[in-house]
């Protein structure tokens, strides 16, 4: 299977091939290596690259994007990783989901305040909803300027991580 990872503005081509058991042949930008990867707990991998041993904590962020956060001994690597075909499809399909921004809750908590209402014009970076978790109020912003199309929660609602809060179009 072929993938494209995007790290900042860099693109990296990765392919993964099963070698049986927990062994995989992984090539990154044409450089091949054999990797023994065992999942030892939820999202936690014991990885042998050759004989170099690592513990790798892989988080795939909730939501539609293939965004990853990978933790190795205190270093957090952030990148997106997508199947090559899927990536090509999205490119060909043009802007598809562009022009829309779904605001989701980054953590479980309580919706304290909706700062906007349906139909309201918003600027990019404007605070739109306040979610409280652990005694802290967090103002969530919209990355996109536009109009509030729909709200999915009411003030006082308890929400899960990744829950849809509102849609800006």
């Amino acid at each position: 299977m072929n993938y494209v990872a995007t790290i900042g503005s860099r693109e990296v081509k990765i392919s993964v091939e099963d070698l049986g058991g927990s062994n995989y042949k992984v090539s990154i930008d044409g450089v091949e290596r054999v990797v023994d990867a065992q999942m030892v707990a939820t999202r936690l991998w014991s990885v042998l690259c050759g004989n170099a041993s690592f513990e790798v904590d892989v988080t795939r962020l909730p939501g539609m994007g293939e965004e990853f956060e990978v933790l190795i001994n205190g270093d957090c690597h952030k990148f997106s990783l997508m199947n090559e075909q899927r990536k090509a499809m999205i490119r060909a399909g043009g802007k598809g989901a562009a022009g829309k921004a779904m605001i989701t809750s980054p953590m479980p908590g309580k919706v304290v305040k909706l700062l906007v209402e349906v139909g309201q014009e918003v600027r990019a970076d404007q605070g739109v909803v306040v979610v409280e978790a652990m005694k802290m109020e967090n103002e969530l912003k919209t990355a996109l300027a536009g109009k509030v199309k729909e709200t999915f929660v009411e003030e006082g609602d308890i929400v899960e991580a990744g829950a849809k809060l509102l849609l800006v179009e």
């Binding site: 299977m1 993938y3 990872a5 790290i7 990296v12 990765i14 993964v16 099963d18 995989y24 992984v26 990154i28 290596r33 990797v35 990867a37 999942m39 707990a41 939820t42 999202r43 936690l44 991998w45 990885v47 690259c49 690592f54 513990e55 790798v56 904590d57 892989v58 988080t59 795939r60 293939e66 990853f68 956060e69 990978v70 933790l71 190795i72 001994n73 205190g74 270093d75 957090c76 690597h77 952030k78 990148f79 990783l81 199947n83 980054p106 953590m107 479980p108 908590g109 309580k110 409280e132 978790a133 652990m134 005694k135 802290m136 967090n138 308890i158 991580a161």
Partner: protein, 507 residues
Amino acid sequence: MFDKILIANRGEIAVRVLRACKEMGIRTVGVFSEVDRKALHTRYAEEAYCIGPAPARESYLDIDKVIAVARKSGAQAIHPGYGFLAENPLFADRCEKEGIKLIGPSAYAMRTMGSKTLARKTVQAAGVPVVPGTVEPISTEEEVIRAAKTIGFPVMLKATAGGGGKGLRLVREEPELRSALRMAKSEAKSAFSDDSVYVEKYIENPRHVEIQILGDRHGNHVHLGERECSIQRRHQKVIEESPSVIVTPEMREAMGKVAIEAARAVAYEGAGTCEFLVDTHRDFFFLEMNTRLQVEHPVTEMVTGIDIVKEQIRVAAGEKLSIRQEDVKQTGHAIECRVYAEDPERNFIPCPGRITSLRVPGGPGVRDDSGVYAGFEIPIYYDPIISKLVAWGKDRAEAIGRMKRALAVYVVTGVKTTVPFHIRVMKNRHFIEGNFDTDFIDNVFFREEEARQLANEEVALCTAAIQEHIEERRRAVSRNPGEATGPVSMWKYAARPGIPKIGQVGR
């Protein structure tokens, strides 16, 4: 000695106090809110009582409910831990009225030290050096401006009822003063319902050093040396150590002496902490006294060998302190990292949720004071502390080495934690050299981190790609589950063996 103690707290500190009680053979009573039925402290206590719904003000902060449980269970004393009711003089008054011993100082000591201006006045009278500033809370703009000019810029505006970094404003020059005052007042009003402020000289590049003291009701007071707490993020301590690299034996003795004077000024009983700011000339100034057990007490325990919680319990029972000043010796070095359920990659946003797996470090010199377990759901209602990880070594370098290796194997999955942040601090050159002040994390560390090249990128990419590959295969299988669905159901096929299975058509 008490037969039974109620612990009016939750999480790691409730567990810490439970441990001391159990070691002393004292029976324990726990209290829990509805979301804490499965919390570790509920499970550890020998008796546990539900005291109401999740919000703290309806459970852990409800004095009537806590007192009712003490009555019902026959507990003779209450340990409040830190936070919640720990520094509430009304609770202290109530315990006294009910004839239940509160493990801590008197309501009078709490009231005096709880008001920053009254505390300043009291300790100043006892000969303790304080940061130059106003002693009385002031309210009018003119008074604040006059005071600031007298003290000399830069000055700090502080909320009288303040704490936790709220209601603080640094003013470098006079023109900034009016708007800073307005902001400090409104912040103080909303955080503490009290908008009075006072003005203090701003100490440049200060370090935060505090002295642990213990006192009994027989007039004995000792200090257990210092803790350095300059590693703070937005005025909140995150890493503490003992001893401090900047404190000399002479300075320790002088600071210990004034801390004891401050404690004597309010006839202090139990464990307390005098916080000081230390300037670049190593002059120290009293900041405030905390009339409770501190989160960071373990570093002092590790270097002195004194169990502070047990001493608290003993003196509360009327015993004399088990140690004299000459018995107190600091051996080696200890560091504590506060592990929070917060996401360091998202500006330390709280991360409640279920801990799916947990591996706690062990080995020589490592202590983990935790309040969670694998499978526990961290509630959204309380402080997101998971544990206090403490490492002891014969010297600072060994303590840092141990902390680094302990953090590297500390695994918490399901929620994000501050472990990666602590690993980075332990590797930071300024931290290793002991060269930092209270603004180090916010002003120096994060800037250096941004510019840093990450290690092992290819391992990260490989693992994510393998995980995605396995996921896609799994999804593909569930999309084409073979004979279970489709035009010909399994049941039909079983009943009529003659028809071809899906995928066999045309063969």
